[in-house]
Every structure is written in structure tokens, then in C-alpha cells.
């Protein structure tokens, strides 16, 4: 599933990153806790969040997320958008709340990150 298909499914507005929306998504994570994103995602994760501060972009950058969907119509500021562009991170805004946005994607076959994550270090 690529970011363009996700945008359509969530009836989302593209805030930035049109040139990268053909990229494939490996899995998705819905979280407002950036600590959880850092601990439990894997490469090419789509992040769904209600947070719009600059640390969301930094967290996505470190975690190699493939894009970010801001739920419940929340809109990031220009500083956040600029940093996302610098990191080639497409940003979307959907009016769906977190639970419904995640549910729609999960129902369409986009899995979570848990199966591939080894929590206790190995």
C-alpha cells in the first residue's frame, strides 16, 4: 500500500511532500507518545498522531517513518512543515479521529508494527 492510496482512504489533505507519495508503507502506528514511536516502530512506518509539535518530525526522522497523518483535523505549523520537507516526509491531515483513521487502514490490510518488533532486545 502506498501513501497515495492511504491519502484516498482517509480522505486526507496533503500538506507537503507530493513527490514522495508513491512510496510504499510497511506498517502503521497510531501514537501520541513519541517514546512509543521510538520504541515500537520499524522502518517505513506510517505514523498517525494527534501531536503537531516539532518533536513529531524529529521522532519520525530518527525512526525512518515514511510519512505522518495528523488526525482529527489537526494542522502542523510552518516550522514543522519545513522540517518535514527537509527530511522528505510527506504530511497529511485527515478529519477522522485516531481510532477511526487507524481502523480504516487496518481494515484495508495495513498491519501494525508489533509482529516485527522484538521488544526485549534479543
Amino acid at each position: 500500500m502506498n501513501l497515495k492510496e492511504i491519502q484516498e482512504m482517509l480522505d486526507a489533505e496533503l500538506v507537503c511532500g507530493a513527490e514522495w507519495i508513491g512510496r510504499d508503507v510497511a506498517c502503521a502506528c497510531g501514537a501520541d507518545l513519541m517514546s512509543d514511536v521510538l520504541a515500537f516502530t520499524k522502518e517505513r512506518t506510517l505514523l498517525l498522531t494527534g501531536m503537531t509539535n516539532i518533536q513529531v518530525i524529529r521522532t519520525a526522522e530518527m525512526s525512518d517513518c515514511i510519512g505522518i497523518v495528523f488526525v482529527r483535523g489537526k494542522r502542523p505549523g510552518q516550522e514543522v512543515v519545513d522540517l518535514a520537507i527537509e527530511n522528505e516526509l510527506p504530511l497529511f491531515v485527515t478529519d477522522f479521529p485516531m481510532y477511526e483513521a487507524c481502523g480504516l487502514l487496518y481494515k484495508s490490510g495495513l498491519s501494525g508494527c508489533s509482529k516485527a518488533v522484538c521488544r526485549h532486545g534479543g
Partner: protein, 152 residues
């Protein structure tokens, strides 16, 4: 080890300077990409560095990050001057945190930072003195298998 060539990067951090939080780890990540380190390994180094950087900014007065990039590994040394950690065993437990509410509102301070650093690195060492500061040393090997397990 003394004969080894390393790329050494050093950065200063200021406590509570949230506007630039993450810039240090971002720079380290970009250098690792230029050097050509494997992407899943870079991800583990970047996450380790970012968690440590955030800890300094959240808890300490000031700190330093030193990244030493060798051909086979990256060593991260993060030293801060600050309140220190009274009980390291407790701080290493997932969910334990002393972060203030405004930090939690930013999505941090969930008590995952130290355990996540330990999980992402191949060697992890923490020393702390109350009312002086904390030193964390992490080593991540560039050909390690841990990254494949963590990133799937």
C-alpha cells in the same frame, strides 16, 4: 584500538532547549548516511542518540554528545551536568519516569528512554551521581544482527 581511524563528532547541549532538540542526532544520522552505514544500523544509532539527547534536554542543565564512528562500530558518549539518577535500576524499568508534565505533553517522559537505548545498542553503560550528572556510553556494531531483529 588506539590505531583505529574514527570520525569524531562533538556537540554541546543545553537543558530545556527544546527548539533544537534532535538537531544533534539528525547531524549524526546524516554523517552516518554519507559514510554508507547500513540503514537499519543507522536507525538504531539515531534512536539511541536521540533518546539520550532528549534526556539531557529534559533533565539536565547542560551536556555533551560525542559520536565516534569507526569502520566497524559507532560509539556514543553522552555526558551531562544535572540532577543525576538516584536509582538506576528503577530508571531502567519501562514506564518509570520523573519527567514533568509539560514534557509528557510533548509526547516524551513515558519512561521508555533508557530501556530503549539499552535495547537499540549492543553495549550500554550508565553511570550517575546524584546532583552531579549522568554519563551514558553506547556501542552499536555496524554489522550487528540486532538491527534486523528490531526493524523486521
Amino acid at each position: 584500538m588506539e590505531d583505529e581511524q574514527a570520525v569524531v563528532l562533538e556537540f554541546e547541549l543545553k537543558g530545556s532547549d527544546f527548539n533544537v532538540a534532535g538537531e544533534t542526532s539528525s547531524k549524526i544520522k546524516r554523517i552516518l548516511q554519507q559514510i554508507g552505514v547500513r540503514s537499519d544500523v543507522i536507525r538504531r544509532i539515531a534512536i539511541s542518540s536521540y533518546e539520550a539527547e532528549m534526556n539531557v534536554i529534559i533533565h539536565a542543565h547542560r551536556g555533551k554528545v560525542k559520536a565516534m564512528i569507526y569502520p566497524d562500530r559507532t560509539e556514543l558518549l553522552v555526558e551531562d551536568e544535572g540532577p543525576g539518577i538516584a536509582n538506576i535500576d528503577l530508571a531502567m524499568k519501562e514506564g518509570y519516569s520523573t519527567a514533568p508534565d509539560y514534557v509528557r505533553e510533548m509526547g516524551f517522559g513515558a519512561g521508555m528512554g533508557l530501556p530503549n537505548m539499552a535495547r537499540c545498542s549492543d553495549q550500554f553503560d550508565i553511570q550517575s551521581t546524584v546532583e552531579k550528572g549522568t554519563t551514558i556510553k553506547m556501542v552499536i556494531f555496524h554489522d550487528g544482527e540486532k538491527g534486523e531483529k528490531l526493524s523486521g
